[in-house]
Amino acid sequence: MKAIVFILIQCLIPLLTFAKTWHIGEKHAFKKIKEGIAVAQNGDTILVEKGFYKEGNIIIDKSICFLGRNMPIIDGDRKFEVLSIKANNVTVEGFKIQHSGYATLDDPGGIKVYDSERVNIINNLVYDNFFGIYIQYSKNCLIKNNKIIAFGKQEQEIGNGIHCWKSDSLQIIGNDVRGNRDGIYFEFVTHSVIWRNTSVKNIRYGLHFMFSNNDAYFSNIFENNGAGVAVMYTKNVIMMNNTFKENWGDAAYGILLKDISDSYIYNNRFLNNTSAIFSDGANRIVIEKNIFQGNGWGLKVQASCMDLSMINNNFLGNTFDVSTNGTLVQNTFKANYWDKYEGYDLNKDGIGDVPYRPLSLFSVIVESNPPAMLLYRSFMVSLLDKSEKILPSLTPDNFIDNNPLMKSLKL
């Protein structure tokens, strides 16, 4: 009975609502967006036709659906914040939003969401703004399939692509972020997901995470960012199926793990980074089934880390698989595949009979004395490494994988 009543009510809802659609454009009654917003009621739709709209700061303070047809351009004249959203239940879709102002005090963005819930920002081209999309004190927002392009030259002259601050339950899906300071920035953002985004050639980090607990990011691509990806001062982060590629430079990392705990790094691909994972003060982290290929350093573990477990990873063609700066090792390596492993497997169970020591003497030397990199691939160094492998004296002897795999895992 209850179900029937519910269905009946559902059927009646369209009869009860009187939502209108307001058209804006050259050929319509309203020529300006602001006029349309002024007359719209909660629940209405504003449909903006193709055109160029330069109206200063446009504020959406009603629960409306704000749609662009054929990518109308909204321009901030390099003075204003282009679009400010100050209401719940707003959808913004199909605009080209460009040229916001530059101000370091109030951080104008292409689209900025203030204290709102259930805001959807979909399919926009956010072009050459100070901040791209800025979310603050908001909940349950969806940011999907936007393209955010900026042309920052220096860190202090440009904002972040997708900047999220003090928010909860956000979904950042399928966006393409280029040329900003940080591609995606999370500070005090919880229970959120970042999925299938591409973050390329940003000046600082591709993804910047701080004080943001209980988040997850899946299937993203972070490529060629100034400093890679940083996950800091955070716990319970899940990082899965991402690709970290070609983050080059002395301070560039595939992932920088700084004071992070209880997290899970699974099935990611680290390709050709200077350092794939740099962990400092990281605790209780499981790093499982990842591919480390062609990196300078596969894993840099500082002595301040505890209970890192490296399980079932593939290490292929890295210059150094692992390096550390101390002698205290409280991390475990189990059943990884190391392409530098030279042991044998007599009983043919796929597990090498001789333990593997991933830490080479040369990596210890380079860690304490970076210019020693000059001697990389020199015959002298190979000799030293070989003798250290046979009789470990300088490298910590519990830095060891007791059951290295003979064949690489199919990941």
């Binding site: 080059w248 430079g249 002395d250 560039a252 050709n272 980074n273 200077t274 350092s275 062609g294 990196n295 300078g296 350093w297 063609g317 890295n318 210059t319 150094f320 030397i365 304490s368 004395n369 970076p370 210019p371 020693a372 990199m373 000059l374 001697l375 990389y376 691939r377 020199s378 015959f379 002298m380 160094v381 000799l383």
Partner: protein
């Protein structure tokens, strides 16, 4: 002059060692590329060949060859030929045959398997390294009349450049770790042809670890076109200076 060069090359071919050297290099190179699953590992194996075997064979063979052809040189000197010409054609003949051996042995597989840029870089550097060690052999063999001593000097020089020099650099690095020594290191690297060759090739190979701090410094110095030119010039100086010294001694030497 070209007749003397031709004569020397024929003489070296008759000796068959260069042929064996070519076949050996080729065997190494082809197996390096076909055994390793990716070509970058193969190039690294070849890098070791260029840095160790090529210098050793060039310096040893040349030293022994010069001592053995002492009578031939005396015969030539008694003819109306300038001493300059004799010594230069001797150098040209040896260099040509060894560079051709290197190009046939290592160059062909490199161009077949490796990236063309890397192949060009490695063949050029390998050829220059061959000439560098032939020039050094000329100097060490002219310095003393005693064959055993000359060969000893050659081997020690090879040992020094291939092995001891790096140990020395490592030692210095540790002693001076407290100081900003990066620039000095770049200068130091330039004082050994093998190190110079190694760094030049490694920069071409785009090893990710070299993108770090130190790598950035090398890239600054050796990565730019100007740096590359300077590095090649330095390598050429390593050919020219020892040879000119030996030429100067040869011109006035009482044979």
């Amino acid at each position: 002059m070209s007749r003397i060069i031709r004569f020397i090359i024929l003489d070296i071919l008759k000796n068959r060692i260069v042929l064996v050297y070519t076949v050996l290099l080729a065997a190494f190179a082809w197996s390096a590329f076909s055994l390793e699953d990716n070509s970058s590992k193969g190039t690294l194996t070849l890098l070791n060949i260029i840095l160790l075997i090529v210098p050793l064979v060039s310096i040893l063979f040349t030293t022994i060859y010069i001592y053995n052809s002492a009578e031939f040189i005396e015969l030539l000197v008694s003819q109306p030929i300038k001493r300059n010409k004799i010594w230069i054609s001797l150098f040209a003949g040896l260099s040509l045959s060894f560079v051709i051996a290197f190009l046939l042995g290592v160059g062909i597989p490199l161009f077949v398997f490796a990236d063309p840029n890397i192949a060009i870089m490695m063949t050029t550097i390998g050829s220059i390294i061959t000439m560098v060690f032939i020039a050094i052999a000329f100097l060490s063999s002219i310095l003393s009349r005693d064959k055993a001593k000359g060969i000893g000097v050659s081997i020690s020089l090879w040992l020094y450049f291939a092995l001891l020099f790096d140990g020395l650099v490592l030692f210095l690095l540790f002693q001076l770790a407290e100081y900003p020594i990066e620039k000095m290191m770049v200068f130091l690297a330039a004082t050994s042809p093998i190190d110079l060759a190694r760094i030049l090739i490694l920069l071409q190979l785009n090893v990710s670890a070299l993108m770090g701090y130190t790598g950035a410094i090398f890239k600054d110095y050796f990565g730019s076109t100007l740096g590359l030119l300077v590095a090649f010039l330095l390598l050429l100086i390593w050919v020219i200076v020892p040879f000119l010294f030996s030429l100067k001694i040869f011109k006035h030497k009482d044979l």
